[in-house]
């Protein structure tokens, strides 16, 4: 049985006191314990940013890669060993900015993995510049006169790009987040959880209070998660009321399901000592 103590590391998180990332780390550990997955069978892949350090503070296998590239790494981890439980974690800049191209393509592949985005609508580790999810007009170090673009809409993108589990949660509600992670891992296919994660140092607009007064859980209003068009409608909701919870869920064959190469056993368990290429050479005579 895995427990919280086992998952703890000697190094302690060095996020700013009060950072929303703490809530995500606690919820993730709680979810792993609740799901009772052996830590050696879990791989957490991250990119760069405050969120990127998360794998260092939870005792599972981890790969802290480069900016924006967690999804290709995580996708291949799963393809190489589909018996593993694979997570990718990253921030809004990492996933929706520099990594946007991989984000769209990872979703349309529907590889069975869970992608948790720490969305604080700001660049934190680089000390406060605009992010792809910053609201129009927001003043930041790189946009002193206000952001001109409109923000990206991760929920709408995910629903239209082929993700089969699309959810949003809030780092200030660890219970909700933990349940969402558990559901995402149980789901066979690509799961996106966009997490509202207050940045206490650089985002003074979208604070804990700002979210608390706005978020409501879709499960409390009878939202039908199997209805793609309704999910899309809900993804457009923003302002005084902002939905969290599962927007959309559908069962589709995963990418791995379509690969006969790994039907019997994962790639990593195929012996390679004596691959017979005799027939292949004959093809060229």
């Amino acid at each position: 049985m895995v427990n919280m103590t086992f998952l703890n590391t000697i190094d302690k998180p060095n996020w700013c006191p009060g950072c929303g990332d703490f809530g995500i780390l606690i919820a993730l550990k709680g979810a792993i314990v609740e799901l009772n997955i052996e830590p050696e069978n879990i791989v957490l892949v991250s990119g760069i940013g405050c969120s990127g350090k998360l794998p260092h503070w939870i005792r599972t296998y981890g790969l802290h890669g480069i900016h924006g590239r967690a999804l290709p790494v995580a996708s291949a981890v799963k393809l190489a060993n589909n018996e593993l439980t694979v997570f990718a974690v990253g921030g809004d800049g990492d996933g929706y900015g520099i990594g946007m191209c991989h984000f769209i393509h990872a979703m349309r592949r529907n590889i069975d993995m869970t992608y948790i985005v720490h969305n604080n609508m700001i660049y934190g580790l680089t000390t406060g510049q605009t992010s792809p999810t910053s609201e129009k007009g927001m003043r930041t170090k790189s946009t002193p006169s206000g952001v001109i673009e409109v923000p990206v809409n991760p929920m709408a993108l995910a629903i239209s790009s082929g993700a089969t589990f699309v959810a949003r949660s809030f780092a200030g509600d660890v219970k909700h987040l933990q349940k969402t992670i558990v559901d995402a891992v149980k789901h066979r296919g690509f799961s996106l959880i966009d997490v509202f994660q207050p940045c206490v140092s650089y985002n003074h607009v979208n604070t804990y209070d700002w979210y608390k007064h706005r978020v409501y859980d879709l499960s409390t209003v009878g939202h039908d998660i199997a209805d793609k068009m309704k999910a899309f409608t809900k993804s457009q909701e923003w302002g005084d009321k902002i939905p969290i919870g599962v927007f959309y869920k559908v069962l589709q064959p995963t990418y791995e399901d379509e690969l006969p190469q790994i039907k019997d056993k994962p790639l990593v368990k195929h012996p390679i000592d004596n691959v017979d290429i005799g027939g292949l050479m004959d093809d060229f005579v």
Partner: protein, 582 residues
Amino acid sequence: MIKNRLTWKIGGKAGEGIMATGMIFSQSCSRGGLHVYDINEYPSLIKGGHNTLQVRVEDREIFSQVRDVNLLIALNKDTILLHKDELVDGGGIIYDSSEVIDDNEIRKNIKLYPIPFNNIIKEIGAQAIMKNNVALGASIALIDYDFGIVGEVIRDNFKRKGDKIIDENTRSARAGYDFVRKNFKNDFDFRLEKIGKSGRMLLTGNDAICMGAIRAGCKFYSAYPMTPASSILHFMAAQERRFNIVVKHTEDEISAINMAIGAGFTGVRAMCGTSGGGFCLMTEGYGLAGMLEVPIVVILSMRPGPSTGMPTWSEQGDLKFALNASQGDFPRPVLVPGDIEENFYLTQEAFNIAEKYQTPVIVLSDKNLAESHKTTEKFDERKITIDRGSFAAPGDLAASSDTTFFKRYKYTENGISPRTIPGMKKGIYTGASDEHDEEGNIREDADIRVKMMQKRGRKMIALSKELKEPELTGPNSADITIISAGSTKGPIIEAMILLEKDDIKVNFLQIVYLNPFPSEKVAKVIESTKRTVVVENNFSGQLADIIKEKTGRDVDKRILKYDGRPFYPEEILASIKEVAHG
């Protein structure tokens, strides 16, 4: 009459079946026990433009193309105008008799073989596109080769398209053959004759890279299409179910290398491949593999740069790029195969080096090597060893702490740390792109930084002790030593064969491992020879610069070619003579 020494060249517009016809010719010669080397030229477009395939055939092993052409098959008039001067005295041109040829434009000693392609096609009720096969058959009759073998190859190549297509192709070739037998019998001085069954393969450098990778147990290949590496993707994708490999055409090259890293981290042998532009996108990931100490193999198949450059042509302009790609210092082994066999064995070896030294390894090829076919003996599988390097022993794992991460980056004498992969109990660690301690925890302490840089650096020292030193081809002492790396090997060997007739003693040092560079050996060779030249397909003489950097010695002459075309042996011969007599 000259028997079994011939260069056959076909030219026409893209889409006319130039490459397919040329391949049938190459395969027919190979199956008759002859040796073949072919080389294609084509622009970056799908229909139109000007394509050629040039096939050299002899009864001894041949290593490259030559400039002289004996028989030109011109499917359009442009082909005649562009290539007539490559023909030797007594050479011939097969062309459509409806083309008006100005006799004054063609040398008197060139033989003209006008063939009424359209009439022939009409007579046998074939489609207009069969012109290439009529021309092929005509050429087979002119050189008096065995038509039966050609028919056999056509049958094998079109097997999947059905009997009707096989029949139409064969009848068209036969009609061209019969026409020449009737009208130009025994008119042409260059002939081919089969010398038995060869059992040799006819394959490209990219084919050999794929076979090497598959034999090495590569289980994951990721790439974005880019000439001249695309055919690796096609080959691997075609074989993925036969050999249980996952092949992924990714959204870009950034994804390709990061996927390879994910697969390598998880414990399968992983490879990605591209050309210069794609490798620009891969460089950040390349450094990540160096920092994480994840084994991956990167195939970098060169074409002329900068930028898009000349997409379908050849150059060796990325030597320094490969050696210096990505920020910071880390072990960057770079292997440079010089021919198709070396492509096979070195790709296989690259996987061993990658896993043993836990670092990314580049195999540096180019378009010339990637796409030219050569008859090659079947690879000797007894030469293959699979060395997966150092994995953590069960005892180490059992003894590891219950509260900390596994020491995946343990300081060791040779810099190689025991490796764990996901799924291994008590082997848990997080690999970091940040500088880290032995457990992978992010650390910025001065002493840890120094120790970790030295640990990674020691792997390169260990590797340099293991690698075979380059060997001299030819006499031990010579007037001129040629130094080169990569696909220039073929034309150099051919030039040396030509030089045997002259009174110039030449030997050849092929650099196979560009990094770690065999500095001592190269210095010794430069010391002990009268004159040293480098032969390179690039503008600045990058290998000569690297030699200078590594040995402190200048070479006497840089023989450079950077027009997108590989060297002809004749060009190297002329330059060597200049050096010898200069």
